[in-house]
């Protein structure tokens, strides 16, 4: 009887409560870890959204512009003084404003983009000269910030007079917020109200295209060779150490390499997506190779043995059976690598992609910048309104990342399997 009292089942049951407690705690810890990282993510997104959502709108003013033939006398249409037309239109709204200082303050309320807009209109249709036309032009960034409530009247950025003029415009319904088209169609600009992300988007697109086109085949090729074919010798050891090490090299060092190799030796143009893409290729390659090898390694040896057993060659085994099974994992790695490349800015500093570029690039050789660098540049700009644009550009960038991750999820969901 004595002996039966210490049956194994009793020991087990005695500890069971404690073990279940530990189990619950462990589980809760895991959930807490996920919750913590998601909270960080939320915090990040909320602070960016809070700063950036208002960039969807841009304050515009209605102007009745008289295309005074006097202005176009004796000059080419392309170089006429369009600013004068804008000033004239403003003065007709506020006839009692006089004095040079006051007039300057008045015309400062409209963006310098208004003159460009008029120029474009006249260049398209010369018949406008001598006629009256009503149009909405972007307001200056300070007015925009004030109108959106991001700049208090006490800030000192706008004078008393200007504030009263804005009130006057509001009463006459001559000022309103409308969809900010320029943000999606324009390139960089020094005027926040005229700046857009299209140039940076195109630059990012071209750069990533090069990176993907080179790094994916190269990365998969390297991973397959090292994991499946390479003999285990010093040379492959060296390659393996190299790849692992390259994954740890600071991105800025790749920038230095790009400067020395691509720009100075191969003569790739500075600031071009081609140079940026090549540098980012070298940078993402190790990530793809490491992920690719992990994915290949996760394919059980039994698959290989079975294929070899029915008479497939090693190449056939790998390409027909192992690679397709490992491909989802490789794609996940590639997407992570591309996401990293999309957000990278430090190495591009060295190859001249941190530059003021207004024109939208149309090829691999046009000077261009990329989205994160655009964010960095805007963050560095003194104009207050750029804070909003910076956050908005970040939102766009994050949207792209979400799409890329969505793609990864879809891929993984479709192909994931457990051995």
């Amino acid at each position: 009887m004595n002996k039966s009292s210490v049956k194994t089942i009793d020991i087990v049951q005695k500890g069971l409560k404690r073990r279940y407690r530990v189990e619950r705690r462990f589980r809760r810890l895991g959930l807490a870890a996920i919750a913590a990282s998601l909270i960080f993510l939320m915090l990040l997104f909320v602070s960016i959204l809070g700063n950036g959502y208002s960039a969807i709108w841009q304050t515009h003013m209605r102007l009745d512009v008289y295309f005074d033939p006097q202005v176009f006398k004796d000059v080419v249409v392309s170089s006429a003084d369009y600013g004068r037309l804008v000033k004239g239109a403003l003065r007709s709204v506020f006839p009692d404003v006089s004095g040079r200082g006051e007039l300057r303050k008045l015309s400062a309320m409209v963006s310098s983009g208004a003159a460009f807009q008029l120029r474009e209109m006249v260049m398209e249709d010369r018949g406008l000269i001598g006629r009256q036309s009503t149009l909405w032009v972007p307001a200056d960034d300070d007015v925009d910030m004030f109108f959106k409530g991001r700049l208090g009247p006490e800030s000192g950025r706008l004078t008393e007079d200007q504030l009263s003029w804005i009130d006057h415009l509001k009463e006459r319904k001559m000022i309103r917020k409308q969809f900010n088209r320029a943000f999606f169609t324009a390139g960089d600009s020094r005027e926040p109200e005229l700046s857009g992300i299209r140039g940076a988007l195109y630059g990012s697109f071209f750069t990533l295209l090069i990176t993907l086109a080179i790094s994916f085949p190269l990365g998969v090729g390297t991973a397959v060779y090292l994991q499946e074919f390479a003999p285990r010798n010093r040379w492959t050891d060296l390659i393996e150490v190299n790849i692992n090490n390259l994954a740890a090299v600071p991105s800025i060092v790749f920038g230095l390499l790009g400067l020395a190799l691509f720009l100075n030796v191969f003569g790739v143009p500075r600031s071009a997506p081609l140079a940026g893409g090549l540098v980012l290729t070298l940078m993402t390659l190790p990530t793809i190779v490491i992920a690719g090898r992990a994915a290949l390694q996760a394919v059980p040896p039994s698959i290989r043995e079975a294929a070899l057993g029915v008479g497939a060659s090693r190449m056939q085994t790998v390409l027909h059976h192992v690679l397709p099974l490992a491909l989802p994992g490789m794609l996940t790695g590639t997407i992570i690598g591309m996401a990293r490349a999309l957000g990278e800015s430090a190495p591009l500093l060295m190859i001249g992609m941190v530059a003021f570029i207004v024109d939208i690039p149309h090829g691999f050789q046009d000077p261009s910048t990329v989205l994160p660098v655009q964010i960095y540049l805007w963050a560095d700009s003194p104009e207050r309104a750029f804070v909003e644009r910076t956050s908005a550009a970040t939102m766009v960038l994050l949207a792209f990342l979400v799409i890329m991750n969505g793609l990864a999820v879809w891929l993984r969901r479709k192909f994931e399997r457990r051995w």
Binding site: I34, S37, I48, A248, M315, T394
Partner: protein, 463 residues
């Protein structure tokens, strides 16, 4: 007009034709569709072999041609121009060529074009046309003859599969050498400047010096402080910030990975995992601003309420944010590794009556450990190499301290500040950046060799 693009398309067509001709030829050699089994390899391989031979040599010629063609054409154009131009310095000739190309593109200011330039431009175009035509002919001839030769060799006994596999394997091996060339490139570009740095500053002082203050004269006519190039505080700062980052990311990342792979339902996993991976994709610039503008002030004011002296650029802020950034690296890789542990091990543990957490702690983690260590090391190197966050949130002052509330600086920050900005390229100050880069490179190399050893030593092959 024949452009390189057209040549490429023609080549592609050529290769496709080669493929089908090869297939047909092999079928014919076997004596018809039904007798394919008589062939050494399947017909596809004969097609591929033909296509590869059609394509690869031609592509090589094409690339080489494109590489030299510009110089040759430019040289010929210049030699046609008046003698005084020919004797110009090379740099001026490049400007002249630019002018000529602009004329061709009709983008130069048209009123300033002089007839000689116009003629040169036409000559240039003419030569380019000739060059492209010649290239087209050469490449077509090359791939055509390859096609004919390979096709004539196709017979029942040709070991086409072995040939093709050999070529593919060769290409794969070439791919894998890129990494070595990249490393060699980095070492050469960094080592050269570092050696010059060590001529000015002794290696021992750099490696063991306890003071980092590169505020020495950067121009001959400027006097700064006495420069001190001891890298220890810089590396200590890097390690402090990385350490904080790892303290945040390893527990959170590992626990998240365990939960995702062992506890979470399918839907939860499908939502949570990609959401977490977004953290890795958020640009570092954004993290930098987040650290400097949200996290640092919060930590500072918290420190003030607790009566601690917290610098506005504390290591804690940068480390925390960096840790957040690295979580998905750790979790994603650990998750993959845990998933890779065969189900049979789990089943074995469960059947012995282990709870899930016990299975994880005693079976899965030890089994996946080498992979996890690899992932963590990858994360460490990412932390050490991270630039933007520390540039924005950590300071520039090199303090030798372990106090996370103080300002420290990191290697990458120093590299950036030393290289970007007012510089004279030969002063030890600028060269110091390269020396730091070299040291960083060496440190990560050592780290990885150790990691590789650990992984190899403890790796177990399942099933």
């Amino acid at each position: 007009m024949i452009t390189p693009g057209i040549i490429m398309i023609a080549l592609l067509l050529m290769a496709t034709t080669g493929y089908y001709l090869g297939v047909r030829r092999s079928v014919a050699a076997a004596g018809g569709r039904r007798l394919i089994r008589n062939l050494h390899s399947r017909p596809t391989y004969y097609g591929l072999l033909t296509a590869l031979w059609c394509g690869l040599p031609a592509v090589t010629v094409f690339s080489l041609w494109q590489f030299f063609d510009t110089q040759v054409v430019a040289h010929l154009v210049i030699s046609q121009l008046p003698a005084e131009i020919e004797n110009l310095e090379p740099s001026h000739i490049s400007l002249l060529l630019n002018d000529i190309r602009n004329v061709i593109a009709r983008q130069g200011s048209l009123e300033r074009i002089d007839p000689a330039l116009q003629a040169a431009a036409e000559h240039y175009l003419h030569l380019q046309r000739i060059s492209n035509t010649a290239l087209f002919v050469t490449i077509m001839a090359l791939s055509m003859s390859a096609l004919v030769v390979v096709r004539s060799r196709i017979n029942k006994g040709l070991r086409a599969r072995n040939h093709v596999e050999g070529i593919v394997k060769g290409l794969l091996a070439v791919c894998s050498t890129i990494a070595v060339f990249t490393t060699i490139g980095i070492v050469i570009s960094v080592l050269y400047e570092s050696l010059r740095f060590f001529q000015a500053v002794p290696v021992t002082e750099f490696l063991f010096g306890l003071k980092w203050s590169p505020q020495m004269a950067i121009r001959s006519d400027q006097v700064g402080s006495s420069g001190a190039f001891g890298a220890v505080p810089v590396f200590a700062g890097t390690l402090l910030i990385s350490g904080i980052a790892m303290c945040v990311s390893v527990p959170i990342g590992l626990m998240a990975a365990i939960y995702l792979s062992e506890y979470a339902g399918k839907t939860f996993r499908a939502i949570a995992k990609p959401l977490m991976e977004i953290l890795a994709g958020v640009p570092t610039v954004v993290y930098g601003f987040f650290a400097a503008l949200v996290v640092a002030p919060v930590i500072r004011s918290l420190g003030v309420t607790l009566g601690l002296d917290v610098a506005s650029e504390s290591a804690l802020a940068a480390g925390l944010v960096m840790g957040i950034m690295i979580i998905p690296f750790v979790s994603s890789l650990s998750d993959d590794m845990i998933n890779a542990v065969p189900q049979s091990l789990r089943d074995g543990a469960y059947s012995l009556g282990a709870t899930r957490s016990e299975t994880v702690k005693h079976v899965l983690l030890p089994a996946a450990l080498p992979g996890i260590v690899g992932g963590v090391l990858l994360a460490v190197s990412r932390a050490i190499g991270e630039t933007m966050i520390v540039v924005m949130a950590a300071g520039l002052t090199a303090n030798l301290t372990l106090n996370p509330f103080k300002t420290v600086t990191t290697v990458t920050v120093q590299i950036v500040t030393l290289l970007v900005g007012d510089q004279e390229f030969d002063s030890p100050k600028t060269l110091a950046a390269f020396a730091l880069g070299l040291l960083l490179f060496v440190v990560t190399l050592v780290l990885n060799v150790i990691a590789l050893y650990v992984v190899r030593r403890y790796r177990e092959q399942y099933e």
